[in-house]
């Protein structure tokens, strides 16, 4: 999948938790400016990591249950999932290079 997939309260478990690959989930909202800023970077990463890491985005305005379940209280928040569990979290607008480091760690870390 080369584009981040929009998921909501209903589809989240099936798409992210049941996935065979690790997943990066971008929690965002339309009124959050840095979220709009990070979106093109996440889109680029989705292309670069296609086949290795799945990418999804959750609009916290529409899917508050998922946001609450993972205690998201700040956006943009990127949650990294592996084996159905959140294993890493990045809050706020961060450089692409830093996101890549975290994605690489997600792929190499056997734990």
């Amino acid at each position: 999948m080369a584009e981040p997939q929009s998921v909501d309260d209903k589809s989240f478990d099936k798409v992210v938790l049941e996935a065979k690959t690790p997943f990066l989930v971008d929690f965002w909202a339309p009124w959050c400016a840095p979220c709009r800023n990070i979106a093109p970077i996440v889109e680029e990463l989705a292309k670069e990591y296609a086949g290795k890491v799945g990418f999804a985005k959750v609009n916290v305005d529409e899917s508050s249950a998922v946001a609450t379940r993972y205690s998201v209280r700040s956006i943009p928040t990127l949650l990294f999932f592996k084996d159905s569990k959140p294993v890493n979290q990045i809050v706020g607008l961060r450089p692409k290079a830093e996101l890549k480091k975290n994605l690489d760690a997600l792929l190499t870390d056997k734990g």
Binding site: A33, R36, N37, P76
Partner: protein, 307 residues
């Protein structure tokens, strides 16, 4: 990418960098703008900008930032997402080492701006995203009917606090002095807002909680007295610091870490210019950043054509 030498590279995609980019692109300079995390800059975090001429009703910071990047796009300003890690001057050429490889240019405008300062108190990093926030616009809505604190006394702190009153039941401003630094208009609004309270002469010492923020430990700087405050969120707005880590050794910086420039935005290194919040003496307003960017681009063009 390795062999190409740009005429001009602009570091930073905030108002200063975008303004420089618009001028450079219209002058048909072969320009690249490098931004680490998304175009627009700090102004994106301002809920409402009321002092930028041309918008008598005011304009949201997000929209103003977005309009500026659209204007740069209109003139086909090339941009790259990369983090600059160092600049080396070899003869007249400037070599930029970045997270995405090396870029070369004849002239460089440093418009890397600033980022929010942290308080560096216990709990601040631990509860980031779980009640500790630096972006009221982003996170205010998560605190509906809850009690929230804002640390700071400047324009950003009061704008943030006023914005959060739309959601929170109470917003308590914690300020280390006994008066506010913010513009009078904002002070009047804040002091008149029934949801707002102020704790003066007080600093935040630590942030406590469990799965989220529960309590702030405070200290009065005049009496030394300590107290606790129950809140579910704390927004930190204690000013900005320049992004200068990669410039150490290249330029001498002012005490606060800003870049000294002359009236043409020239630094001590020929062909390297600085514009916006990052330059020494900046009033750190969006209007000034845009002006600096224009001056720097025109000076850079003169420098390039004189070589």
């Amino acid at each position: 990418m390795v062999d190409k030498v740009y005429q001009l590279i602009i570091i930073g995609g905030g108002p200063a960098g975008l303004s420089a980019g618009i001028y450079a692109a219209r002058s048909r300079l072969d320009t690249l703008l490098i931004e680490k995390a998304g175009l627009g800059g700090q102004i994106l975090n301002a809920e409402w900008v009321e002092n930028y001429p041309g918008f008598p009703q005011g304009i949201s910071g997000a929209e103003l930032g977005s309009l500026m990047s659209q204007q740069a796009e209109k003139y086909n300003l090339p941009t790259a997402f990369a983090e600059v890690e160092g600049i080396e001057v070899r003869g007249e050429e400037k070599i930029l080492k970045t997270s995405e490889g090396q870029y070369r240019a004849k002239a460089v405008i440093i418009a890397g701006g600033s980022e929010y300062s942290k308080l560096d108190v216990p709990g601040e990093e631990e509860f980031r995203g779980r009640g500790v926030s630096y972006c009221a616009m982003c996170d205010g809505a998560f605190f509906k009917d809850e009690v929230v604190a804002v640390v700071g006394g400047g324009n950003v702190a009061l704008n943030d606090a006023l914005f959060i009153t739309k959601f929170a039941s109470k917003v308590i401003v914690i300020h280390r002095r006994d008066q506010l630094r913010a513009t009078k208009v904002l002070q009047e609004r804040a002091l008149a807002n029934p949801k707002m309270e102020f704790i003066w002469d007080t600093v935040l010492e630590s942030i406590k909680g469990d799965s989220q923020v529960r309590e702030l430990q405070l200290r009065n700087v005049k009496t030394g007295g300590k107290s606790n405050l129950s809140v579910s969120g704390v927004f930190i707005a204690v000013g900005l610091k320049p992004n200068i880590e990669y410039l150490r050794g290249l330029l001498s910086l002012s005490d606060g870490g800003f870049i000294p420039v002359n009236g043409n935005m020239e630094t001590e290194v020929p062909g390297i210019f600085a514009a916006g919040d990052i330059r020494a003496g900046s009033i750190r307003q969006v209007i000034a950043a845009a002006g600096d960017g224009a001056i720097a681009a025109i000076a850079a063009e003169a420098y390039i054509s004189s070589r």
